[in-house]
Amino acid sequence: MTEEALPIPVLEVRDLVRHYRLPRESLFAEPGHVYALNGVSFEIQKGKSFGIVGESGCGKSTLARNVMALENTDSGSVKILGKEVVGLNFDQLRPHRRHFQMVFQDPYGSLDPHHTVGRIVAEPLAALGSISKAEKQRRVAEVLQSVGLKEHDVEKYPHEFSGGQRQRIAIARALITHPELIVADEPVSALDVSVQAQVLNLLKDLQEEFGVTYMFISHDLAVVEYLCDEVAVMYLGEIVEKGCTEDLFRTPAHPYTKILLDAVPKPGAGIRRDRIKLKGNVTGQTEQRIGCAFQDRCPMVEDICRKAKPPLDPVGDTHLAACHFSARLLEKA
């Protein structure tokens, strides 16, 4: 078996940890921490879409920023195309940045209002070093066309576009270096349904055309199901379930996933049915607990959950879940 035979994953994340220090609340208390990421591991193969779902405060945006090397990581490793990015400084990273780009949530806040579309879209080319003006123009025109914008839009300013068009500009910016990986943090959640569909379809088309890999972060399960090949569910800075989309959505092996799926309102389903209700709010981002992260809100909680932390173990071919009772859940399904 030779090295080349094994495909290198586009993104490989191992045991990523990120804790933020809180300011002191009182003179006499130790400063607290926000435990945003507590050892997250996954990998994404070329040309696939990997979805990360979870509620606010589960650490999904922190994960995106750490993968993009936009803030310091406490420990763990992030390999992009096999190259470790944790620990590199900004200058060392710069040439490598062409391989991974990002699309942000807010189509209004992510484009500098004082720059023209041409300048915004060409921005990541800075990582490539010097290229000729003609080459720059050619690539901008090309990428604008592929996201469905017109060539003469380069002279316009962001405020002349609608939210959906702005998100196309943001996608064009991410595409211009022909990256292998695009990290998209809630790219459609600020858009109206009719426009959201346009952008989702565009993302799908671009993947087919360029073979780009997505790490797609969303709180909307239906959107993730539509776009992604594989999904990881996050809760309090940990992945609690991971698997290919069909498995995970049809036969969830973690109670949290099941509750999330149940909580999504479905059009045309009639007046609401009875279902398992989640108790309490997302709490405890600032405390580290013994045992399962989900114990406070879990309807199935038992003594063992408070003592032992369930590992993220396989429950199927490619399906992993971190629950002591996964087998029980799968049986019921």
């Binding site: 040439p95 807010d106 209002p113 921005e123 800075a126 990582a127 405020h159």
Partner: protein, 264 residues
């Protein structure tokens, strides 16, 4: 609009006075003291027979020079410090902000008093004092607005593109806070004119025989019972200048406000 016109008028007055004034602002002709307004002396003469209109016009130069230099000192040093604080964060920011906090305890006139106590009264010292006072004002404003821009997603996007802090500061931060700084500069320009007038009035600023609005008021005050009108003109000149600049600042704010321009 009105503010712009008034400011322009002021500049023109200053420019003309470089070459020509209706009478002489310097020549002392005792025979001509306290002349009422006439064709020769538009606003009359003072107790030394100097032409008041000419003194006012020449005084414009003085006010503008002091204000321009003082604001520029504050602008360049303050904005650079503010940008630096926002870009570096951490202890750099802490030091710069503590220093600026601290210098707030010494407003322009207080520092001018100290400076003149050391170096003696004079125009240069008042410029220095006002300029020093402007530095923390600009530093704070710049740092606050720059910090807000640094949290924007487009800055995050620029960082994801591999741009360094210096480049982001000049390509993204500065253009986006420029309008706020311009507006503030206009207002501080007005404040500088006021401060210069106050210092000259106290005898700490521009020294005779150079005409200055503040000192004209000082001299007029002793003659309040004799010729109250003399106390009116220079004050009016200051008020018009400051009023015009304030209006200009408000107007610029409306034109440059990103919230408004975004809607268009």
């Amino acid at each position: 609009m009105v503010g712009g016109t008034m400011t322009l008028f002021l500049l023109i007055c200053a420019a003309i006075s470089l070459f020509w004034t209706p009478g002489s602002a310097y020549e002392i002709v005792i025979a001509n003291r306290f002349l009422p307004p006439s064709a020769d002396h538009w606003l009359g003469t003072d107790q030394f027979g100097r032409d008041i209109a000419s003194m006012l016009m020449t005084g414009t130069q003085n006010s503008i020079v002091v204000a321009v230099v003082a604001v520029s000192i504050g602008l360049f040093i303050g904005v650079s410090l503010g940008l630096l604080a926002a870009a570096r964060r951490g202890w750099t920011e802490e030091i710069i902000m503590r220093l600026s906090d601290f210098s707030f305890a010494f407003p322009a006139i207080l520092s001018a008093i100290m400076l003149t106590a050391i170096l003696g009264p004079g125009g240069v010292n008042s410029i220095l004092a006002i300029g020093l006072y402007n530095i923390p004002v600009f530093a704070r404003l710049t740092r606050g607005s720059a910090n807000a821009i640094w949290t924007r997603e487009y800055v995050m996007a620029a960082r994801a593109s591999g741009k360094g802090r210096l480049r982001i500061t000049f390509e993204h931060i500065l253009p986006n806070i420029l309008s706020i700084i311009i507006v503030q500069a206009t207002i501080l320009f007005a404040i500088a004119i006021l401060a210069e007038a106050a210092l000259s009035y106290l005898g700490l600023g521009t020294q005779p025989p150079e005409p200055s609005w503040g000192r004209m008021l000082n001299e007029a005050q002793t003659l309040m019972f004799l010729d109250p009108m003399q106390a009116i003109y220079p004050g009016l000149a200051i008020a018009i200048a400051v009023f015009g600049l304030n209006l200009l600042g408000d107007g610029l704010r409306d034109v440059l406000d990103p919230r408004l321009s975004r809607k268009r």
